[in-house]
Structures are given as structure tokens and as C-alpha cells.
């Protein structure tokens, strides 16, 4: 069978999800390989050699986190995006710590999923562009300049570093723990998590000038933060439509 674009192993026992995604993903350039349980996933990984794995946590034969652990044991390097109805922070943090790249709570929208998949694949290729843009936000890393539309934004060194880290992992959830480690090194977690929140709060205020527009930095309650890569100017869209 001839295949085009990145190969996606979709591990989910729910027929509607399998059906929908196998319709939606190919037009976006992906080839979808279904797996309906953990065993099948572990076996198919060998033959399919996927570039990306979408994994549900509630599988009939084993817990999704166990699948992640075994995949990582077998040195599968393909990024894993967890797609699950479980909303508990512990599930998210647990998956991310076990080796998942990202976590997406069901139900999700297709643009959301595509943005996350794109980010996951990009982070593996690990090339960083000189300029990053989403909606009005523009960051020029060579010149160390940040702007919203035409307005230049003045950031402190810590705020800039934080933004840089989020851009580097753009589209993916970064946990508090990971961010603290990357910003301040091996500092005590409990003392610094508040510092991180306050710094992020400052940063967001400087970037998020109009509270009615979508945020660039999205809070994942209890887990961490994510820099949005998908364009979400819904107000403009909605106005166009009406």
C-alpha cells in the first residue's frame, strides 16, 4: 500500500473516533493506521513504524499509561499524544511524566488536534525558526524582539526566557515542573511554583492586551501552560459569517 505523509497510529477502541479521524486526517496529509487495544498497538508499532501515535487511555485490555511505558521501553521515538476523556490532573501529569508528548482532552475539535499533531512532529524535527508568529503575536529570536501587531512589547529577562521555552514547545503542554527546571534549574519546586505563576501572569498581561481576544498562553489547570499555535480569531470569523 502506497502511503503519503506522516503515518499516524490511532489507538482507540471507540468506533466513532476511529471513523471520524480516518475521514478527517487524510485530507490534512496523514495516513491513519487503526489499533483497537494496547496489544494491537504494541504489535502494529513494529510493522507500521508510525511518525506519531494518538493514544486513548481507557483501552479494553490495558491502561494507556502502560502502553506508553512499554513503547518507551522498546525505544519507540514517535511522539505520543494522549487523547482521553479523563480530565484529572493526575492523569495528565502521569502521562506526560511517563513519556507522552502532549495530552488532549476529549472531546476536542479537529483544528485543535491538527495543531497539536503538527507541534508534536515539529518538536521532533527540533528546528527552531528565527521568527515565530501566531495571530498578532510575533517573536523575532535573532533580534530578541516581541510585538503584538504594531506594538513592541518590553519583557524582562525571565519573562523572555519563559516565552522562549513555551515557543520551543509551542502547541504542547509544559508542566510547572518542566518549566521551573528549564527556567531556574534544580530549584526547590514548592518555593518556585508561585514565582512561575506570577511571572507567567506578568507575561500574559503584557501579551494579552485585549481580554476579549483568545489568550496566546493557555492555562492547563493543575498541570502547566501551553503556547497556542492554532489561529483562533473566532470573533472575526463569526462576524464575517453574520
Amino acid at each position: 500500500m502506497e502511503t503519503r505523509g506522516p503515518r499516524v497510529l490511532l489507538v482507540d477502541d471507540e468506533q466513532p473516533i476511529q471513523q471520524t479521524l480516518s475521514v478527517v486526517l487524510p485530507p490534512a496529509g496523514y495516513t491513519v493506521y487503526p489499533a483497537r487495544n494496547g496489544k494491537e498497538a504494541l504489535w502494529k508499532v513494529q510493522s507500521v513504524r508510525p511518525d506519531l501515535i494518538l493514544l486513548d487511555l481507557g483501552l479494553p485490555d490495558m491502561d494507556g499509561k502502560e502502553v506508553i511505558r512499554r513503547l518507551r521501553e522498546e525505544r519507540t521515538i514517535a511522539p505520543i499524544i494522549v487523547i482521553s476523556v479523563r480530565r484529572e490532573e493526575s492523569e495528565k501529569i502521569g502521562s506526560l511524566n511517563t513519556g507522552a508528548h502532549d495530552y488532549l482532552t476529549k472531546p476536542f475539535t479537529v483544528p485543535e488536534l491538527l495543531a497539536r499533531m503538527h507541534a508534536a512532529l515539529r518538536s521532533v524535527s527540533a528546528t527552531q525558526d528565527d521568527v515565530f508568529t501566531v495571530d498578532d503575536l510575533r517573536i523575532d529570536f535573532r533580534r530578541r524582539e516581541v510585538s503584538i501587531g504594531q506594538i513592541a512589547v518590553n519583557l524582562t529577562a525571565t519573562e523572555y526566557d519563559l516565552l522562549k521555552i513555551l515557543v520551543h514547545h509551542a502547541g504542547k503542554v509544559r508542566t510547572h515542573h518542566q518549566l521551573i527546571h528549564e527556567l531556574w534549574g534544580g530549584t526547590q519546586y514548592e518555593d518556585v511554583v508561585h514565582l512561575l505563576r506570577v511571572t507567567l501572569s506578568h507575561l500574559r498581561r503584557k501579551l494579552h492586551l485585549d481580554p476579549q481576544k483568545p489568550r496566546y498562553i493557555v492555562t492547563e489547570p493543575g498541570v502547566g501552560y501551553r503556547l497556542r499555535t492554532e489561529s483562533l480569531s473566532y470573533s472575526a470569523k463569526a462576524r464575517q459569517h453574520s
Partner: protein, 672 residues
């Protein structure tokens, strides 16, 4: 003649000598010619010291007194019970009554024969009686116990001629000593004597008065007191009630003029103590009655069982200065339902309490049964039924002073009645709850079938229209149908998720997970979630730039905003702005969501947060019923409140507050 005269004289002299009262024969000038033995004893002189001396100069405290007596004698020839004050050889003054008549010898020599009666003791008794009467009057008109004790000490100083004195009341720990008065000045000195310590403590132990005229070597007196007041002599008198219980005491120190306290002083003081006893007892009874009235009053205003137990425990602590425990039966055993923090409820306590409960009698310390326990356990009875047990800590000494026992019994019976009321209230509430929960279940079913049924219907209709259109619809219409399905599906998802969260919170299956949140971030998340419907509306923000991070559950509060904002959008015209205000007031975050819409009828303002209010009302519009109930549950899970009021400018204001605590790292101090 000589002989017979001598004989007469001798006989007279024998009579004269044997006469029990003092008889003096004086010359017209006032020289003492003769004085019998009683007279010598009265004045305290030897015969040789007094015969031939000038009576006025030697014996009279004021010579004028004597001259007045002489003048009287000359004018009338006799006096009867004439009051004169004499001075004994020791210097002590004695009050006497003189009955005298002129005397003339056969040989014509003249003089007076005077009969002198010492009435000092009589006068003192009169004085004492008057003092005691005054004491009785003063004590009975005292406004409170303190002024009563002050007055008692003052009167005693007058009664006994002492220089200083004090008084105090019996307490559960011993005897409080205070009300020290010296030279009409109150000395700020109070202390407590345990039984056996000091004179006051001695009185508790022995129940009789204490007297010493050699305080320097007294083994009982509190040494500091001896130093401070310079006590040389003194006596302490117990004040006992009808059952011989010492309820108070007083003491006087240092008799005036360096004299010693006598048995007479003791007698007078004991009389004073009897008078004081009645007055103090009355006062204490009055206090008990007021305390009981206050106790009943404070019980009337509470109906919740836990509160009733708390009130009883606190009142017992106030009135009896002791710790307590209240036990009620649970599953065939006793469980402490109120316990003073200091009260240690061990195994021996449980055994005594259980015995008291099973037998309906007192048990524990100071009783015959299981007296190893630390507390005295009293069954709480209502109409002969034991509904619980109250344990009162027993301090060293007696179980309770007699005067407090009637109060205690009254408190126990009132407590039993109040606890029974609390138990009944609980039962009624439980019954009502079952009744209510039936109603609630119906409402839940109605609400769910409405709030879930409506979006499902919209989704089904839209999608079936698309599936069956066979290309008959234009692109705009197709998109309209898809957007409707999408919007309703999102709404349904949110509702189901948050119904789950609410149920988990209400059943205790989960708790709010708070983390420091940026209020603006929460509102933005809500607006993003609302999607296009928010994008078309004008939302203004009034949130201070330096608003600190507030501890809350990001997801739950986001849902509250989604709900409040979507209501505001739904029930106000599209061209009217919706405002979100947020501020920190003292220790809470206050948030207002203000719209200029149709408002809520004022009679319904209090009910909109009731579960499923709107559904019961009309069932026409979506969301409000379950949504606001969920919001209320979420805000209350944060320890906050939510309310709705009409905007004076038209429309509705939803106001919620949640507790706020300043975080260790404040916004101001952290400029990175």
C-alpha cells in the same frame, strides 16, 4: 461607846467588804476615805495606793466629770446612776454608773458614800448590737457581692476595733481572699488559699474560727500577708451556710491600741458571720437564679443539636468554672458529643459514664460508684428516660459547693430538655430531608430531561436535516445547521461534565482543587470556551492591574463565568455591554457580572439559585435552572457565596465572593 461604835464599824466594815459592788466613801473634798475590795478590784489599786488620794485626780478620766457629780450632790443631796468614766490603774477606761448619797458621821464629819457599777461590758454589748444591726442593714442593701464584702469588712473593723481586715468567697479551688481594707483604704491585694493554706484555707478544713494574738509565731498565716499588713494579732471567722458548708470568710488584723483580740470579739464576730451568711447566701442564690435565667435564655435561641451541646458546655464552664463532657448514646454505646478541650476522656471515665447511663444514677468521682474516674457523671433525664450523661470535672475538695447544687440540678434538667429538643429537631429534619429528596429527585429528572434533552434535540434535528437534504440546502444554511449542532454539543458536554463535578463535590467524592489563579485568565478562558457567542458581544472589564493571584479551582470558576456570561448574553439585548468587575475587599475576592438586560422579577430573586427553579417555572428557556444551581454549588464549595440582585440601571447583577488569603509572594514585591 467606843466599843459599840467600834463593833458597829467592824460590822459595817464586814458588810462593806463583802458587798459585791464597789463602794467608796469620800470626803466632801473628794478624798478617798474608804474603798472596799470590790472597789480596789474595779480600779486596780492596792489599798495603800488609793486611801487619802484625790478621787477626781486619780480616777476620773476628766476632772470636770467629777466636779459635776460633786455639784449635783451638793444641790440634791444624792445622785442615781450617774454616768462617769473612770481610769483604771492600767490606764484602761471603764464606763461606770454612780449612785451616791451624802453621808454624815455621828461626830458631824460629812462626806459621800458612792456605789460604783462598771457598765463597760454592757455598753460594749450595746455598741456591738448596734453595729450588728447596722451590719445587717448594710449587707442586705449591698448591690452586689463585691460591695457586700467591702461593706462587711468595714463594719467588722468598727465592731472589733481592728486596724485592718479582709473577706473572701469560697471557690471550687479554695478560698478567694480580697477586699483588704486598712485605715478606710482599699488595699489592692487578692490571692487564693487552697484548703489548708493560710487562715482562710484553715477555715475550709476545720470549719471553726481561728484566733491568734502572736502572729509573729503563727504557723498558719500566709507569711507575705503578715509582712505586708504587719500583722501582730488577728482572727479569721468562717461564714457557713445552713448545711455547715463554709461559703465565705472574713478576717481582722491588729486590734486597736495594741490590745489583744478576746473571746468577746470572737463572739461578736461569729454573730456578724451569721448575719453575713444570710446576706451572702441570698446574693449567691440571686446569682444562681440570674445564671439559670441566662442559661435558659441562651438555650432557647439555638435549635441545632451541636449548637445546644456547645452552649451547655460553655455555660457550665462559665458558671461552675469546670470542664465537662456530654455523652449521647450512639449504636448502643455512649459517644462524647461535647468535650472541653482540657477534659481527658479515658477508659475509667467511659466506664463511670456508662454505669450512670445504664442505672440512671450519679457515678464517678465523689460518689460511691467507680470513684476512680476524674469526673462526676450525672444522668440527663427527660420524663424518667435517660437520654445522655453529663460529666463534670471534680476539683480537689468537695464536689460542688452547697450553694451551687440547686443551680447545677436546674442546669442538668434544662440541659436534658434542650438536648431532647435538639434530637427531635434532628429527627424532623431527617424526615423532611427524605420528603424533600423525593421532590428533588423529581426536579432532577425534570431538569435533566429538559437541560439535556433540549440540546440533544437541537443536534439531532440539525444533523438529520443535513443528512436528508440531498444537496437542497445552500452553503450558508448548511453551515448554520452545523454551527448549531456544534454549539449545542459543546453546551451538552459542559453541562454533563459540571453536573458530574457538582455531584462529586456534593457527595464528598472530590474536593475543590485550588491553585493561585489570575482572575483575568479565568474570565478569558470562559470567553474562549463560549466561542462565537462571546465574540459578538461587548464585554468590559473592571479588574485592577495589580490584582493578586487568588486561590481557586480554575476549572470550576471558569464554568461559573461561562454560565454567568452566557446568561448575561442570553438575557440582555446584543447591543448592551456586559461588565465583569473584580476586586479584593479585605479577605475576600468579590466578582460582579453586570448586564443591562431584562432582569429577574424581584419576588424570584431569592429562588433563582434553587435547584431547577426555572424548569419548575416555565420550562421554556434553556440552561438557567441547572446552570445556576451548579454555580452555587461550586462557589459554596470554595467557601463563598453567590447572589443575584437587580441592577438599579436595569438588568441583573450577579455577585459572588470567595475567601482570599494573601499569598507569600505578593504581586508588588515581585518585579522580575
Amino acid at each position: 461607846m467606843e466599843g459599840s461604835s467600834g463593833e458597829t464599824t467592824t460590822r459595817c466594815q464586814t458588810l462593806f467588804e463583802e458587798f459585791e459592788e464597789a463602794i467608796a466613801i469620800l470626803s466632801p473634798e473628794g478624798q478617798v476615805l474608804e474603798l472596799n475590795q470590790a472597789g480596789l478590784d474595779l480600779f486596780g489599786y492596792e489599798r495603800t495606793e488609793i486611801i487619802g488620794m484625790d478621787a477626781a485626780r486619780l480616777l476620773c478620766s476628766s476632772p470636770d466629770d467629777f466636779h459635776r457629780l460633786q455639784t449635783e450632790m451638793e444641790q440634791r443631796g444624792s445622785v442615781k446612776d450617774y454616768a462617769v468614766q473612770f481610769r483604771r490603774s492600767s490606764g484602761k477606761l471603764i464606763d461606770c454608773l454612780v449612785t451616791a448619797s451624802g453621808w454624815q458621821d455621828k461626830d458631824g464629819s460629812r462626806g459621800y458614800m458612792a456605789l460604783v457599777r462598771d457598765v463597760t461590758a454592757q455598753k460594749e454589748t450595746e455598741h456591738s448590737l448596734r453595729s450588728l444591726l447596722r451590719l445587717s442593714e448594710t449587707l442586705n442593701s449591698a448591690s452586689d457581692l463585691d460591695s457586700l464584702l467591702d461593706a462587711l469588712v468595714e463594719q467588722l473593723l468598727e465592731l472589733t476595733g481592728a486596724e485592718s481586715g479582709s473577706a473572701g468567697l469560697r471557690t471550687s479551688q479554695g478560698m478567694s481572699c480580697g477586699h483588704f481594707i486598712q485605715e478606710s483604704r482599699v488595699i489592692p491585694l487578692t490571692y487564693l488559699c487552697a484548703p489548708g493554706v493560710g487562715w482562710a484555707g484553715w477555715l475550709i478544713k476545720h470549719g471553726i474560727h481561728y484566733l491568734t494574738n502572736d502572729a509573729a509565731h503563727d504557723p498558719v498565716i500566709v507569711p507575705e500577708l503578715r509582712e505586708r499588713l504587719g500583722v501582730r494579732s488577728g482572727m479569721a471567722i468562717p461564714i457557713v451556710d445552713g448545711e455547715k458548708d463554709v461559703i465565705a470568710f472574713f478576717a481582722v488584723y491588729n486590734k486597736g491600741g495594741g490590745a489583744e483580740f478576746t473571746q468577746l470579739d470572737v463572739q461578736h464576730s461569729l454573730s456578724a458571720a451569721r448575719i453575713a451568711s444570710v446576706a451572702i447566701h441570698n446574693r449567691l442564690l440571686y446569682q444562681n437564679v440570674s445564671a439559670l435565667a441566662a442559661f435558659i435564655q441562651s438555650l432557647i435561641v439555638v435549635s441545632d443539636l451541636e449548637e445546644i451541646l456547645e452552649v451547655i458546655g460553655r455555660q457550665i464552664e462559665t458558671n461552675f468554672k469546670r470542664h465537662s463532657v456530654i455523652l449521647l448514646p450512639v449504636n448502643g454505646g455512649l459517644t462524647p458529643r461535647f468535650r472541653s478541650t482540657e477534659f481527658v476522656f479515658g477508659e475509667s471515665e467511659r466506664t463511670a459514664a456508662t454505669w450512670s447511663w445504664k442505672h440512671g444514677q450519679d457515678a464517678g468521682r465523689s460518689t460511691e460508684i467507680l470513684s476512680a474516674a476524674q469526673a462526676h457523671y450525672v444522668p440527663l433525664k427527660v420524663r424518667g428516660q435517660v437520654i445522655g450523661v453529663l460529666g463534670l470535672e471534680v476539683k480537689p475538695g468537695t464536689w460542688l459547693p452547697n450553694v451551687q447544687r440547686p443551680l447545677f440540678s436546674a442546669v442538668i434538667s434544662q440541659s436534658a430538655l434542650a438536648i431532647e429538643r435538639g434530637l427531635l429537631e434532628q429527627k424532623v429534619r431527617r424526615l423532611r430531608f427524605f420528603e424533600e429528596s423525593d421532590k428533588v429527585q423529581n426536579a432532577v429528572l425534570n431538569a435533566i430531561s429538559h437541560d439535556i434533552g433540549a440540546p440533544l434535540a437541537a443536534i439531532t434535528t440539525s444533523l438529520s436535516a443535513l443528512l436528508t437534504s440531498h444537496g437542497a440546502l445552500d452553503q450558508a444554511a448548511e453551515r448554520q445547521l452545523l454551527e448549531t449542532a456544534d454549539l449545542e454539543a459543546r453546551r451538552l458536554h459542559r453541562l454533563v461534565n459540571n453536573l458530574l463535578s457538582m455531584t462529586r463535590l456534593e457527595t464528598g467524592a472530590s474536593t475543590v482543587k485550588t491553585e493561585p489563579c489570575d482572575l483575568l485568565d479565568v474570565v478569558s478562558a470562559a470567553l474562549e470556551e463560549l466561542g462565537p457567542s462571546a465574540g459578538q458581544r461587548q464585554v468590559s472589564f473592571d479588574i485592577p492591574k495589580d490584582m493578586p493571584l487568588v486561590a481557586m479551582d480554575f476549572g470550576l470558576i471558569t464554568y461559573v463565568f461561562i454560565n454567568l456570561l452566557s446568561n448575561a448574553f442570553k438575557y440582555s439585548p446584543p447591543d448592551q455591554p456586559v461588565e465583569v468587575q473584580g476586586r479584593i475587599i479585605d479577605d475576600r475576592l468579590e466578582v460582579l457580572v453586570v448586564d443591562r438586560g431584562i432582569g429577574v422579577p424581584s419576588e424570584d430573586l431569592g429562588r433563582v439559585f434553587d435547584k431547577f427553579y426555572q424548569v419548575a417555572e416555565s420550562g421554556s428557556s434553556t440552561g438557567l435552572g441547572l446552570g445556576l444551581a451548579i454555580c452555587k454549588a461550586f462557589i459554596e464549595a470554595h467557601g463563598g457565596r453567590i447572589g443575584l440582585e437587580n441592577n438599579p440601571m436595569g438588568g441583573t447583577i450577579v455577585r459572588f465572593v470567595i475567601p482570599f488569603h494573601e499569598a507569600a509572594t505578593s504581586w508588588e514585591t515581585l518585579k522580575l
